[in-house]
Symmetry: D2
Subunit: 147 residues, 4 copies
Amino acid sequence: MNPANPSFAQEVRASFARQTFMTLLGAQLSRIEPGIVEISLPYRADLAQQNGYLHAGVVTAIADSASGYAALTLMPAGAGVLSVEFKVNLLRPARGKEFVARAEVIKAGRTLTVVRADVFGVNGDKDRELVATMQATMICLQQKVDH
Amino acid sequence: MNPANPSFAQEVRASFARQTFMTLLGAQLSRIEPGIVEISLPYRADLAQQNGYLHAGVVTAIADSASGYAALTLMPAGAGVLSVEFKVNLLRPARGKEFVARAEVIKAGRTLTVVRADVFGVNGDKDRELVATMQATMICLQQKVDH
Amino acid sequence: MNPANPSFAQEVRASFARQTFMTLLGAQLSRIEPGIVEISLPYRADLAQQNGYLHAGVVTAIADSASGYAALTLMPAGAGVLSVEFKVNLLRPARGKEFVARAEVIKAGRTLTVVRADVFGVNGDKDRELVATMQATMICLQQKVDH
Amino acid sequence: MNPANPSFAQEVRASFARQTFMTLLGAQLSRIEPGIVEISLPYRADLAQQNGYLHAGVVTAIADSASGYAALTLMPAGAGVLSVEFKVNLLRPARGKEFVARAEVIKAGRTLTVVRADVFGVNGDKDRELVATMQATMICLQQKVDH
């Protein structure tokens, strides 16, 4: 997919840096390409649900941010992005030393962009397990709109 | 709805207390009734997305925990609950001094329970705005199962 | 909710009449109010899944059409409506002599409208059971757009 | 993926043949492999929404049936399958002489199986466009259960 905005990577990094919640989680941008963004997150004991697995809200947070930024890579310069909706299937207990959310645009439109994100629990180079998958709709904001 | 477990409120409180992520967010259980659970969360600057609104991952986290515990109130004593899937529509920018996630069981089954959760941004007694709505499926774990 | 278009009911009826698939199913508009539309469907043996219940595709079809038209009632005159996405939870086997899909707008926006639809299996005045619930996003098309 | 049931293809065909709604639509099973099922459907003028495109309910019907049968290929002999929930993103107007729903299991569990289905509009060997994508949860029924 061809990015409309040659500065897409800088815009993604600048917007991500303003997401204070990503900082609180300890999440980092680990890949930015046209239509694809990855966010990585080391496990921490204060991010858990009742059984010690990563809380579904954290799984969703990194999948949602990765999805929004994957959509943003294909939007015009200066555009903003907001999540319209997402659906997450939690496939396995979210176990891992680290988690990676990998988002990829399925369909980029002028107004709406549909993205899929997979979240993996990672315990080493060869131990990587799909723990959740998201299907999301993002909206492009070029001016302030009441969507 | 009639709870099968007379100790449902204690079990919800005990499980919630083990969710370290709720502590990190500053979220609190504010209502526990058969089939209904509410979680409240004061806004904090470190819970934001790029525009300063509450991050969709935080909105989802409190909606998901409230949904799981709403389901748990109707499960047998000793049961565990896990999220199978959820879908969230983000209706407005998540603005507010405080947020309340209100979850209510739509259909309680032996294995699966379907829950709806609304998340409100609150700025005072008369200023309460629906910012997101979730439709979720929860699974009852009576023994350890590979669901 | 206040309709922007005084002819909303006629526009809904005219559009519904063009949905040939509603005719094939034997579905009928049974209520049109600002923000609320109902579609009714008698059970027929050729609308079944493998156990004789109403096929989830039929349940979805009437919920989706009702949702789109509920959204259309609040759109400007001459607007078109398309489904962006929907999520359906199938709560019980879809049994009934008749089915009613009741859609209600949760949030009407200039571009996007979020709608909830419940589908009931009906066996008489006092026997009405919720069989499915949908959460959907509709888009308003004022001109031809690549959404 | 290894099917637990050597007769999986016969069971899928037998169940599909009982779905009277697939017959009404003119849909056919076009591929049955472990974890993968495809259903094909020629366009017909009586399957349309208000603009003449394939109705989202029909798109969903073939995606749902393909998803259920993809799940069934990996279930034990004699099992039944029901849809728990699905979410569909409608990516483009559903145009085509023919439509193909291709479902593939993402995660097969003892009770729940998660499936993804893509629906393509087809106008010839080289003209195939993704019109919708579904993320679904299916449940395995070995005995009669109140799920």
